[in-house]
Symmetry: C2
Subunit: 154 residues, 2 copies
Amino acid sequence: MHPQHEHKDCIANALEQAISICEEKGVRFTRLRRSVLELVWENHGPIKAYDILKQLDSDIASVKPPTVYRALDFLLENGLVHRLNSLNAFVGCSHPEAHKDCYFLICTECGEAMECCSNDLVTAITKTGQKNDFRPAHVTLEITGECADCRGAI
Amino acid sequence: MHPQHEHKDCIANALEQAISICEEKGVRFTRLRRSVLELVWENHGPIKAYDILKQLDSDIASVKPPTVYRALDFLLENGLVHRLNSLNAFVGCSHPEAHKDCYFLICTECGEAMECCSNDLVTAITKTGQKNDFRPAHVTLEITGECADCRGAI
DNA sequence: CGTGTTATGTTATAATATAACAAAACAGGA
DNA sequence: TCCTGTTTTGTTATATTATAACATAACACG
């Protein structure tokens, strides 16, 4: 699903963006929040809260669930990560500067989640809202299936 | 969100459809499965597994979680209910004869979930799959926001 | 350097879901 | 009918995901 790119670069890039976004918004990008975001990106795919917990635990001493959930809440609120409801998992947002409704192609084979935007989808959803006299606040669109790589590999 | 219709009718209708679908598929629509489907419909909105559990418990003696989850799994597999991932809840499918990808407008005010189908959305999703060389298996599309009734009521 | 605010630590527990095995109900042929 | 394999349900235990509530620490800024 992803070419063999320098993943370190995208982690570094995500962190830099996070720093500048938080600065701009006047919110604190603390060490903990940074560590969590880092772990999310290092994982390179959807990661679960308790897996973050475990990984933090090996670094720092005895981290408890609320610590992780609070950091994740912060990251969600500030558009730095997305939550995948169908997996109870989290992924880094790949365009946090313009964080908005987007959708995910989730491969059930390799577990990767590809973040996408589509104007067609956005307009379709907007129209839908208007037709039903409904004011959308948040969209969850998750498509599970098989990605090209995994299909090819069979 | 829903006109004052005879809700009993739609429960009865849902049960009849369930019976005929199960018969057609050669699967067993047992008393338990029927009770669970009934409770889902009676609730008239998304209902959680443990609420079903509680309600069954008052009827029959001491129902345990697996009982409910197994019945829900059956109903999901046979297209009789949908699962709303963003709520961890379940709703009856309003067109089980043609159960397929559809989406939900979920009002955060009244909690109702409106099931919709939209060809525009289906085509947009299909196109998206093709463009990304991804073979979609299942689509979760849940839009939270405010429905006309609730907005009007303010 | 005090003080209010924001963030983190800590304990406990709530809410959601499944594994694994036992008992029962059912279906279909001998 | 009754045997037998299959499907369903019961039961116990436990895994997984998430939050409430209150204590302590870190920070920001006058």
